[in-house]
């Protein structure tokens, strides 16, 4: 009798525990998104360099002053660990409410249902002052999953202090080619005597360079349907170019390049003044200058004189987790980040030249020299239509690219073999995500 009673109690307890856990799992956000009068805590995550962390914290303080019942907890990381931790928190149903999102991952997260359609929060989020074309870059399948923060363009940064020190004249960026870059890089390396190199090796930092390379060759990385369409011979030449830079001494030896590429932006060769030239996004000029302490200048990309491959890339997006318990407050924070002039005056161009036209005008007077140079760069270049958004499944492109560049640099694969393998692998990842 007694023992049976104990069993029954035990089962009851166990079932209650299971049931309560299940209930806890399924309780999502409330249906009607109204601002809460009580205290609300939002988690806000971003990647970036130290400079950005300070500025963002200042903006958060401003927001909290205006909305005393909302606490914003910032979580910031460098680029590499950012995506690892975002993937794990999203999988664990513990995603931050407001997420700084990149073009590489927008489709991946949106099409898996992890992001909120921002159009559902129009009540709190005004997008009226945005350039319609810029706004469209954050839409996937007709739904607004990302609010573009700023615009950026790929650029070549040159350390003019270093060039002056070695008496090497600044090249004419209206006419120069990739071969010119390699030649001047070799000059710098020679003058640098083993401690300073000409060019920070491309192919590691991000896929912007690869995209430009494909477009200069008349192709693109992906077509409208998401198929990998970079011409194999263009990719082969890309790998050969990187190999030549290292072999002929324009770029540092591969192991140094790899070591620097694994670090943060502040540890790159350009930031530590160990390379005179490097590819970057124009918006990174301020952070790079702050780290380097020397005079850096943005130049037009080599090869642009012949084929205009440049495009405006949304530097990043603001997204809201689809499982956020406070979508209304999250939208309010986005609205503040996107439309508040005071916030913009703190951020300036750290996250790109603002996509919001009104804000762009508002900060014009408060730009520092490097911010101005970054903004001016956009006016100097000739841009054509933006490429297709990185398809779902292709977020792995950078790790695949990095591995094949390493294979080529360490003579484990010939450039044409690496090109073929890269295309096959990337296509397989896109297909697998369908």
């Amino acid at each position: 009798m007694r023992s049976r009673h104990v069993h029954r109690v035990a089962w009851a307890v166990l079932l209650t525990v299971i049931a309560s856990l299940l209930v806890a799992c399924s309780s999502g956000p409330g249906g009607d998104d109204e601002l809460s009068a009580g205290p609300v805590t939002l988690r806000f995550t971003w990647w970036g360099a130290d400079d950005r962390h300070k500025r963002t914290q200042q903006v958060i303080d401003l927001f909290q002053k205006k909305h005393p019942n909302i606490t914003v907890r910032g979580e910031f990381k460098d680029w590499n660990s950012y995506w690892d931790s975002l993937a794990t928190t999203v999988a664990a149903n513990d995603a931050p409410d407001v997420i700084q999102m990149d073009e590489l991952y927008l489709a991946s997260y949106a099409q898996r249902g992890a992001l909120l359609d921002l159009n559902t929060e129009k009540k709190y989020l005004n997008t009226g002052d945005f350039d319609a074309k810029a706004l469209a870059t954050g839409a996937v399948d007709g739904q607004q999953y990302g609010l573009p923060v700023g615009l950026g363009s790929y650029a070549l940064v040159a350390n003019t202090d270093l060039l002056a020190k070695y008496n090497i004249p600044l090249p004419d960026d209206n006419t120069w080619s990739w071969d010119d870059l390699k030649k001047i890089g070799e000059q710098v390396s020679k003058a640098g005597g083993g401690s300073v190199w000409g060019v920070q090796s491309p192919g590691f930092s991000d896929t912007g360079g690869l995209q430009i390379w494909a477009r200069q060759a008349g192709g693109s990385l992906f077509d409208d349907k998401g198929k990998v369409t970079i011409p194999p011979d263009a990719l082969t030449r890309y790998f050969s170019y990187i190999l030549d830079l290292a072999r002929d001494g324009a770029a540092p030896p591969p192991s140094i390049t790899i070591e620097k590429a694994d670090g943060t932006l502040n540890q790159t060769a350009v930031a530590t003044n160990t390379a005179a030239f490097g590819l970057c996004w124009n918006t990174q000029l301020t952070a790079l200058s702050a780290a380097s302490g020397q005079k850096l200048k943005l130049l037009k990309l080599p090869g642009e004189a012949k084929a205009h491959a440049e495009y405006y890339k949304p530097s990043m997006f603001w997204s809201v987790s689809a499982r956020s318990k406070h979508p209304a407050e999250a939208a309010l924070l986005l609205d503040f980040l996107a439309n508040d002039a005071d916030a913009a005056k703190v951020m300036l161009t750290d996250r790109g030249v603002p996509a919001n036209l009104k804000i762009r005008a508002a900060i014009d007077g408060s730009l520092t020299d490097t911010d101005k140079a970054a903004a001016d760069y956009l006016n100097r270049i000739t841009v054509s239509d933006p490429p297709r958004v990185t398809p779902n499944g292709a977020s792995t492109i950078e790790t695949i690219l990095k591995r094949h560049v390493e294979d080529v640099l360490f003579d484990r694969a010939k450039p044409d073999q690496a090109a073929k393998a890269f295309i096959t692998e990337l296509q397989a990842d896109v297909d697998a995500a369908r």
Partner: protein
């Protein structure tokens, strides 16, 4: 009569208190059972199920039968990861055990400050699997790190040990060998169990140090060596943190530090393919079970039990 009644009463009381004890024990054990159920058995069962599905971490899993397991056979990067892992295990475990045994024998002799040395050698084992040490390792073996500075003192120009595919795995192996403290402590305990009379008798018979080691220490210690071997092999197959941190999560350069578990992690959280990652986890279980089985089979030929 009365004694019998007392006895019965006692027994009743005993039965009651046993039942009460059981009940209390049950309540105290409940958190443990819940943990076992939800944190251990649940995920294990879930990962087994997920191994047969395509699951991108957010949308519901889709059943695809044995597709993931078929992929294991043709996945070239996985085969490379297996090669890296086997190299890692085959090189680092014997080296680690040799270091552990060597240091244990040194420490076994009563020397001054023994407790200090024991802790000092054990310390890396406590720290070795931590992220902080892996980060430190990255610095030490970097282009401008300690190793190259020391080499510079004797006129050798070092290289980027971690960023060169030909030496990156070796730094991980050195890191693993360095954490020999746990097997060392077990060896120390084992050495203490060997009766000194054997050594005395052997010494009288004129056996040298090497002979004593080969004929007495090794055979009598073989069960302990076997125990450490099995444990460290399993441990080495599962190592993840060091490779993850030292390579910055990439397994690079050129997949040279891509150990099995890191590849598994990248499939799950980098490519959002948790189904394949789960299948890989179960495949790793099979591999470890197989290797452990071989170890036990081989043990019959070299492990000596002094019953």
């Amino acid at each position: 009569m009365s004694t019998l009644g007392e006895l019965r009463a006692l027994r009743r009381r005993g039965a009651r208190s046993t039942k009460r004890d059981n009940k209390a024990a049950f309540w105290f054990l409940l958190p443990w059972f819940a943990g076992l159920l939800f944190i251990t058995l649940g995920p294990i069962a879930a990962s087994f199920g997920l191994g047969f599905t395509k699951y991108n971490l957010i949308q519901p899993p889709r059943f695809i039968g044995l597709g993931n397991f078929a992929r294991i056979l043709t996945d070239e990067r996985l085969h490379n990861a297996l090669g890296v892992t086997f190299t890692y295990v085959l090189v680092s475990v014997p080296l680690q055990l040799a270091c552990a045994l060597g240091v244990a024998m040194l420490l076994d002799r009563g020397m001054r400050g023994l407790a200090f040395y024991r802790s000092a050698f054990y310390l890396p084992s406590l720290l070795g699997t931590s992220v902080a040490i892996a980060v430190l390792w990255r610095q030490i073996f970097g282009t401008e790190g300690l190793v190259n500075q020391l080499l510079g003192l004797v006129g050798i120009t070092g290289q980027g040990w971690i960023s060169d595919p030909s030496s990156a795995l070796s730094t991980l192996i050195v890191l693993n060998v360095w954490t020999f403290g746990a097997p060392m402590v077990i060896f120390l305990a084992g050495l203490r169990q060997i009766p000194t009379v054997y050594y005395e008798a052997a010494a009288i018979d004129g056996a040298g140090r090497w002979t004593r080691f080969r004929r007495i220490t090794l055979p009598l210690l073989s069960p302990i060596i076997f125990f450490n071997l099995v444990l460290q092999v399993i441990h080495a197959f599962q190592s993840f943190t060091q490779a993850f941190v030292v390579s910055g999560g990439t397994g690079g350069p050129a997949d040279s530090t891509m150990v099995y578990t890191l590849y598994l992690y990248q499939q799950g959280f980098g490519r959002f393919d948790m189904g394949y990652a789960s299948a890989l986890a179960w495949f790793l279980l099979l591999i470890i079970a197989g290797i452990t089985g071989i170890n036990f089979w081989a043990a019959k030929h070299w492990v000596f039990y002094d019953d």
